[in-house]
């Protein structure tokens, strides 16, 4: 079941079209929203939250219309914005419980839940410190805590690892993975950092110029077309490319002693062809395995 559905959505800022005839479904689980800067990722999130009125098209989040049910949608959504944000003059507990009260929680429930969420986000020890004194990593965590406090069913994480050191980034990604693994919260992560998406998400939506250019599960997107095999030779063997081409196999030299071979559909015994080709040019095969595409390949291919 999709948590959000969008059909032919167009969002314009004056004369600039930020989202152009976009149609997509955000499935349950953890979904990554990828795209270069200016692709329309943040605009899409803001439209789903009801901050921007679409020029045309329709959209629903949990079956609620984005054009006129923004308040009801925000009741069930948590947003972790990209930029630093806090309410001045408050410590972490006050800030998070205040965010809960703003979402309609009774004060006592909000306070209890604030302690719980801060503990969960790893800020238990620093909960009585003023948020203004927090480090960048802690500020990212408190943004996540305030997004989770009212028990949303979907959270939008806009560049969640911005400004974090490697250790902090690892912890944040683990936290995101843990939240989506709970299966009570769906997560939509917007990022231009491919390893972050690769580590946390089950599905990916790639955007460019306000349009979806790729969408699917990680597994499906990584699958290659036809039979593709990555072959490791003992040493670099340049004649192999031409030799394999003579045998009807397109071959690319990846790097050093690695070659990617693309066999025509219906090839019976690719291994035999590899060994014969190597023998013909006097090369030695060290190993081979079915090739998969990295998220970087998928992304680069999508935005080309």
């Amino acid at each position: 079941m999709a948590v959000a559905t969008i059909s032919n959505l167009i969002v314009r800022y004056g004369t600039k079209t930020a989202v152009n005839d976009l149609s997509l479904e955000v499935p349950e689980g953890c979904t990554g929203l990828l795209g270069p800067n200016g692709a329309g990722k943040t605009t899409l999130l803001k439209t789903l939250l009801g901050f921007l009125v679409p020029t045309s098209g329709t959209g629903e989040v949990f079956g609620m219309n984005i054009a006129n049910e923004g308040l009801r949608i925000r009741q069930r959504i948590g947003l972790m914005p990209e930029m630093d944000c806090h309410i001045p003059g408050m410590n972490a507990v006050t800030f998070v419980s205040y965010a809960g009260e703003l979402a309609g929680m009774p004060a006592s429930d909000a306070l209890r839940r604030a302690h719980e969420v801060l503990e969960y986000c790893g800020l238990g020890e620093a909960r009585y410190r003023n948020v203004e004194t927090y480090s960048t990593g802690m500020k990212q965590r408190i943004k996540l805590a305030q997004a989770l406090v009212h028990g949303p069913k979907l959270i939008f994480l806009d560049e969640p690892t911005n400004g974090l050191d490697p250790a902090g980034r690892d912890e944040m990604l683990d936290l995101i993975r843990n939240i989506s693994a709970s299966q009570v919260v769906n997560v939509l992560v917007s990022s231009h950092l491919l390893p972050d998406i690769e580590r946390t998400c089950d599905q990916v939506i790639v955007m460019r110029n306000g349009k979806v250019v790729r969408q699917g599960t990680m597994q499906a997107l990584r699958q290659t077309v036809g039979i593709q095999i990555e072959v490791e030779m003992y040493i670099e063997t340049p004649p192999l490319v031409d030799e394999m081409a003579r045998r009807g196999v397109e071959t690319r030299h990846h790097n050093a002693n690695l070659y990617l071979m693309m066999f025509p559909e219906g090839t019976h015994n690719p291994a035999k062809l590899i060994f014969e080709g190597a023998k013909a040019v006097g090369g030695q095969v060290r190993g081979f395995h079915a090739a998969t595409r990295s998220l970087e390949d998928i992304f680069l291919e999508a935005i080309e």
Partner: protein, 316 residues
């Protein structure tokens, strides 16, 4: 001696899952209140932040002191007798209203400073800390947010004025009821209430506008203080240039400033004429003062409403 200590289990590694604490994510399934109360949560937060403000407590203390002095003044004149009061120029019919009006004028500066303390940072600090995204990503509208901020400033200013004023009123009621307090001025309680509302409404409305358009509390502070004092100076210069200091014919010009409108409205509410060495000044025009006050309120609120947005849209 037996040195064979009992064998101890090795301590679990620090990253081992705790056997007693469930650290997995749990959602909230409890009660959620209706949206109509959320502006109240914001206004309470505005007022709660004042608890630690030394400036607020000092100014509030000065206001209480001014009311205490007024009470003492009433106590002393109350014991002098009507003949002596008449000799001092004190009108028995409007003695209490005059006192309250005088006090509202004396506390004006303190109320103004408190309004800067409470209100300058109300929205500007949120702008600086990007807090609008936190507010507006929750299920509330920008109207809820604005009403909450406005009400936080308004209630603070109103209460800081009204609490000592009503105490003074109750003192007068209990002490001077036999001397015709209620008979002479039966509507005074409503006048006190109205006169406390006026500065609170005008300051709160204009200040949310200034604060919304400022990137930092300091900028809002300077902008609003500048507006207040420059309007006072400008009306003073106009009075000097056009009427050459003639209070009788040009005194009304002094009401054409921010502080002047507040003072003029309070004077109209209490119905007290200002006395100066040349005689009594004419009352300020109530319709004009009311129109100016409504313009101030509308401009302030409209300016704030125009600026508060979850998404800053640059058209082009």
């Amino acid at each position: 001696m037996d040195f064979d200590l009992p064998k101890q289990e090795p301590a679990p590694p620090s990253n081992a899952p705790s056997p007693i604490a469930d650290l997995s994510y749990r959602t909230y399934e409890g009660e959620l209140k209706t949206r109509s109360l959320r502006w109240w949560v914001i206004s309470m937060a505005v007022m709660r932040l004042l608890k630690k403000s030394v400036g607020f407590w000092i100014n509030a203390g000065v206001i209480v002191l001014i009311y205490l002095i007024a009470g003492l003044q009433l106590y002393l004149t109350g014991n002098l007798g009507s003949r002596v009061n008449g000799a001092l120029g004190i009108d028995e019919q409007t003695k209490y209203a005059s006192t309250f009006f005088q006090v509202s004028g004396n506390t004006g500066l303190m109320v103004f400073i408190i309004c800067l303390t409470v209100g300058a940072g109300s929205i500007a600090a949120d702008n600086k800390a990007n807090a609008l995204m936190v507010y507006l990503s929750k299920p509330l509208t920008k109207g809820d947010y604005l009403l909450g901020k406005w009400a936080g400033i308004f209630m603070t200013l109103f209460l800081v004025n009204f609490c000592p004023a009503i105490t003074l009123y109750l003192y007068c009621l209990t002490s001077y009821i036999s001397q015709g307090f209620l008979k002479n001025e039966p509507m005074l309680i409503f006048k006190v209430f109205g006169a406390c509302l006026v500065p609170a409404i005008i300051h709160a409305s204009l200040l949310v506008g200034c604060s919304a358009w400022s990137k930092s509390p300091r900028a809002a502070y300077i902008f609003y203080a500048g507006l207040y004092f420059l309007s006072t100076i400008a009306s003073g210069i106009m009075f000097g240039v056009i009427y050459r200091g003639d209070m009788q014919s040009g005194g009304h010009i002094l009401n054409y400033s921010l502080g002047g409108v507040i003072n003029g409205l309070c004077q109209s509410i209490y119905g007290v004429q200002t006395v100066f060495p040349g005689g009594k000044l004419p009352m300020p025009s109530l319709p004009l003062m009311l129109t100016l006050a409504i313009i101030f309120v509308a401009v302030g609120v409209a300016a704030a409403r125009a600026k508060i947005n979850a998404v800053e849209v640059v058209k082009g």
